[in-house]
Amino acid sequence: MAIDALRCKECGTEYDLGALYVCERCFGPLEVTYDHAPIGDVGQARRRIQGGPQNIWRYADFLPLEAQPGPSVRASSRAGLPAGCTPLVRADRLAERLGLGEVWVKNDAANPTHSFKDRVVSVALARARELGFDTLACASTGNLANSVAAHAAAAGLDSYVFIPADLEEQKILATGVYGTNLIAVNGTYDDVNRLCTELSADHPWAFVNVNMRPYYAEGSKTLAYETAEQLGWETPDRVVAPIASGSLFTKIARGFEEWLELGLIDGEVPAMNGAQAAGCSPVATAYADGQDVCRPVKPDTIAKSLAIGNPADGPYALDLARRTGGGIDSVTDDEVRAGIRLLAETTGIFTETAGGVTTATLAKLAQRGDIGRDERVVVYITGEGLKTLDAVRGTFAVHEVDASVESFAAALPETVTA
């Protein structure tokens, strides 16, 4: 077992591995630390991973659990709702359209509840059970709601899911169906989050992104592990990923860093490019202004899964983008819709608005000349297009015809054969 302690990212104070998330001395966030044994034979270590299950538990040695569900325990590593091992797709047509050399799309919509959240929830749930919790809860912008409700159902736990009342209908329906206690809060995500922070103090529940946050966040590292493994145990040169709280963005980099430190993969930490929607861009704004903290905003964007106005990991996302030679950009809602279409038309992958933000940011970087022709770029698509159908309504034409050859020919004369 390599899990070591909880450690404050700000002041370094260490804590036991309980349901804690805040440093009592300085209020900084707590993070899991590990005590990995040196990797002797790299080939053997890689084969051990490759021999694991086709889900995130193949990386169990690097996740914050005591009794690990895999890879050696085959049955338990396939129980519940296994996440991960999603496709990494070589997107030559997208690269060509943008004048880039090599672009890969990590399609994390291909998870059980169609977003990357299944990774973090799997880890939070496993750790919550180790700590003796029997109820899961979360504050969510939608994808997490789907995931917590589904994983709790699969594991037979009670769940309480808190969402902003104005969430997309698809996300509400795809949460309630699992039989959770669904609470729609009149307010923004930040209001929901504040409420959950207060409730977590006196409810014996595992709030996956509050008191389980140090463990939960670790699940996002598997996005880096998988990418490196799928690229042949190498890091990409550049990563484009969305930023809401900044947790996913910083943990992807952490995953690459850990494996580089252990000597499991070759390369360097990629240039990390963060993507935000202009209607909720506290991190991109702080980046542009040269600030190291984010001023909170009231979100107003169609990218609701990224609509966190008060990003907890904002300072770390800023630091990461700067020290890796990346950056943080924002794109308008119109660019988001265009990004969804661009990805769909060139890769056959239909993403929700967050993926539109990410793709539009890739396009912006390409147009600005920030990406070299020789770079290998990985774009993280974190959620499924069917969750935000309104975003693409009216962005294309439908030909209405009568059920006759004449009517069809009249509507589409260019298709008429001589």
């Binding site: 805040v22 209020f27 209001d191 504040r194 959950c196 207060e198 996913l248 990224l306």
Partner: protein, 91 residues
């Protein structure tokens, strides 16, 4: 003018377990100063160099004071002041 301040569990070790405190003050800054007079150790935990630490959020009647006037935000009778950690939540 008495204002009720709610104290998060993570800070109750330095308030003798108190979850709430009634203190006087017309602004958030005055309220916090009055709180620090009562619980001396609290100051260093949530303030650094005279300003709030970056992972501390303060709310007046549910609104983040960074959307109001920061430490100069007025507090009226009947309003509540909440101190909460900023590190929760996220995608």
């Amino acid at each position: 003018m008495a204002v009720t301040v709610s104290i998060p569990t993570q800070l109750r070790a330095v308030t003798g377990g108190d979850a709430e405190a009634e203190v006087d003050g017309a602004t958030v800054g005055e309220v916090l100063d009055a709180l620090f007079d009562r619980y001396e150790e609290l100051r260093d935990r949530i303030c650094q160099d005279g300003t709030l630490r970056r992972f501390v959020n303060v709310y007046v009647s549910g609104e983040d004071i960074r959307f109001l006037s920061g430490l100069d935000t007025e507090v009226r009778p009947g309003q509540d002041v909440k101190i909460l950690p900023a590190v929760a939540g996220g995608a």
